[in-house]
């Protein structure tokens, strides 16, 4: 898809996120909005993924390590018609396949594994990637993490293992929005310099603007061309991106806007693509 098309898709995803969260009455808007372009660029232009057969053995795998931002993933999967977009209205409701954090056992098409407890996704991705290598298959594995999540020690166990096992079929993406629940990541527990850390662990590191769809597209292409070492895309992003009253404010990590503010957000997103 052309970048201009991806921009429109991104705006629609943002509107879906806001509407879903309003109906749910709880959830995580800030980190969902910061990851929109990273997911849209991936699912619409790079992943080998058949929305009509999400268990296709030739598929690329996506693991949402920062599971709390599942509204963005659910919106993308609905946009791809993995399931009806009507189902987005059921987010966080009893009996829904759209749990507050991704749940594999609810069998929502496109959810590979349950996530939500931070720090687990990179290991899971490493296991899938090792399996593909052993089976001599060329499926790729993508893992989206947060920057606050980099504080988990388990991330670094996996960060060591992935280059050790030469899993060049794995692409780690850090949605580096600089904020976590208690404030700025650098103040709570600094994780920078992230690029240097991953580089020193043996990764091919790409630093990009995570909202620039040209840069996002190029980074995924570079990952696919890189042999012998895994790729880490450190994407600078804005928490709450696209809704100006949310942008760069930690308080919008897990807060739902009022009815009036929802309207304001939807109008602002619409205006951004006019």
């Amino acid at each position: 898809m052309e970048i201009s098309g991806l921009k429109i898709v991104s705006a629609n995803i943002r509107k879906d996120i806001i509407k879903m969260l309003e109906l749910a009455g709880s959830g995580h808007p800030g980190g969902s909005l910061s990851a929109v372009e990273l997911l849209v660029g991936l699912y619409f232009n790079h992943m080998r993924f058949n929305p009509k057969n999400t268990k296709d053995l030739n598929r690329d795998y996506f693991v949402l390590s920062k599971g709390h931002v599942c509204p963005v993933l659910y919106a993308v999967l609905a946009q791809l018609e993995c399931f009806s977009s009507d189902e987005l209205c059921t987010l966080r409701k009893a009996g829904s396949r759209l749990q507050g954090h991704p749940a594999k056992d609810k069998e929502l098409p496109g959810i590979e594994v349950s996530t939500g407890s931070l720090g687990y996704g990179l290991s899971i991705g490493a296991g899938i990637a090792a399996g593909m290598k052993q089976a001599k298959k060329d499926n790729k594995v993508y893992v989206l993490m947060g920057d606050g999540e980099q504080q988990e020690g388990s991330i670094w166990e996996a960060a060591m293992a992935v280059p050790q096992f030469k899993l060049d079929n794995l692409c780690a993406i850090v949605d580096n929005n600089g904020l976590q629940i208690d404030g700025a990541t650098k103040d709570v527990m600094n994780v920078e310099p992230l690029a240097d850390k991953y580089r020193s662990f043996g990764w091919n590191v790409l630093e990009i603007d995570g909202h620039n769809l040209f840069e996002v597209d190029k980074a995924y292409s570079q990952f696919k061309e890189t042999k012998g070492k895994p790729t880490a895309i450190i994407a600078k992003t804005v928490k709450g991106k696209g809704v100006s009253y949310m942008e760069n404010l930690a308080e919008w990590h897990g807060k739902i806007p009022s009815k009036e503010l929802v309207q304001e957000a939807l109008e602002e997103i619409d205006a951004s693509i006019k």
Binding site: A103, D105, S114, S123, I124, G127, M160, A161
Partner: protein
């Protein structure tokens, strides 16, 4: 007399089971964490190097990568010391593996006081409790090396997560290839109706020895090998309660939340009878000779005999 066919550590049954599985099923994958030889997965590693990964001293990644391999369609087994296999990565086991119902098999070696000189840090005495509370998890504590091999093979074909508890020390072999083994089905090893001794793991042999001692005192004890602690064989427990009227449980594990608790849960719901539990009494172990520790912490046949005498007074 209890017929014994020599002594061998259950870890070798775990290793042999994996090798057999590796030959018959190309989906079997094994992951270790720097303890390959001591938990007996080194033969598999040498025979099937492309289906083996050593993640180093990193147990959260051990379970996380196993989860990923299961997502990719493999049947991964991980193995390391029980405290590190069940304790450190407990939340990965809960949230990633059990919640996703992934086909990951966890081998917890070095179970119990029998780890001996390494002391309390390495003596896994809590895994039954912390594994059996997890939805979808199956928990097996085989009684000897032969049964451990059967448990490994059966677990590969039991859908979903399984925890297998095994040990490092040589222990008596008293089952053979033709002894029955089915996950979830307890085996009566000795008939008797005065009392039932229900045991798992290393304590099954002690239970058989205790039954011999009791026989001399005119007490006929039924001995039940409850190798599967979850799903537990409710039928076998309820019939033991109905037919014997009193039960003694025996496990090389903490007294709270383990096997004895699992048996008691079935009894209080269905057919309450007096129960005595032989287990480690809410304390940590220490360094020492394995059998000396078993004696010091009250996990021998004589302790089971005493528990039987106590429970019979309450019958």
């Amino acid at each position: 007399m209890v017929e014994v066919f020599g002594k061998k550590a259950t870890k070798f049954g775990f290793g042999e089971g994996l090798v057999e599985l590796g030959k018959e099923n190309s989906k079997i994958f094994v992951l270790g964490a720097d303890t390959s030889s001591s938990v007996a997965i080194n033969t598999f590693r040498d025979m099937f190097p492309d289906r083996f990964l050593n993640v180093g001293i990193a147990e959260t990644n051990l379970l996380g990568m196993a989860a990923g391999l299961a997502v990719a369609g493999f049947i991964p087994f991980v193995a390391t010391y029980g405290v590190f296999a069940a304790g450190r990565p407990w939340e990965q086991i809960r949230t990633t593996i059990c919640y996703s119902n992934l086909n990951v098999k966890i081998g917890g070696s070095h179970s119990g006081l029998m780890v001996g000189p390494d002391g309390a840090t390495h003596q896994a005495l809590e895994e039954i409790a912390i594994m059996r509370c997890l939805p979808r998890m199956k928990v097996i504590a085989p009684c000897d090396v032969v049964e451990t091999k059967k448990a490994v093979i059966a677990s590969a074909y039991a859908n979903g997560p399984v925890y297998i508890r095994y040990g490092r020390e040589n222990t008596p072999i008293f089952t053979n290839d033709s002894s029955p083994f089915e996950i979830g089905k307890a085996n009566i090893l000795r008939e008797g109706n005065d009392v039932a001794i229900m045991a798992c793991g290393t304590m099954v042999y002690e239970a058989l020895m205790a039954a011999e001692l009791l026989e001399k005192k005119g007490i006929k004890a039924r001995v039940v090998n409850v190798h599967t602690i979850k799903p537990i064989d409710e039928k076998a427990i309820i019939s033991a309660a109905k037919e014997c009227g009193a039960i003694v449980t025996a496990e090389e594990h903490q007294i709270y939340g383990g096997f004895g608790s699992a048996v008691a849960e079935v009894l209080v719901k269905n057919y309450p009878v007096p129960v005595e539990m032989v287990a480690v009494n809410d304390t940590f172990g220490e360094s020492g000779d394995p059998m000396d520790l078993m004696t010091k912490y009250g996990l021998r046949d004589v302790n089971i005999v005493k528990a039987v005498q106590n429970v019979l007074k309450r019958k």
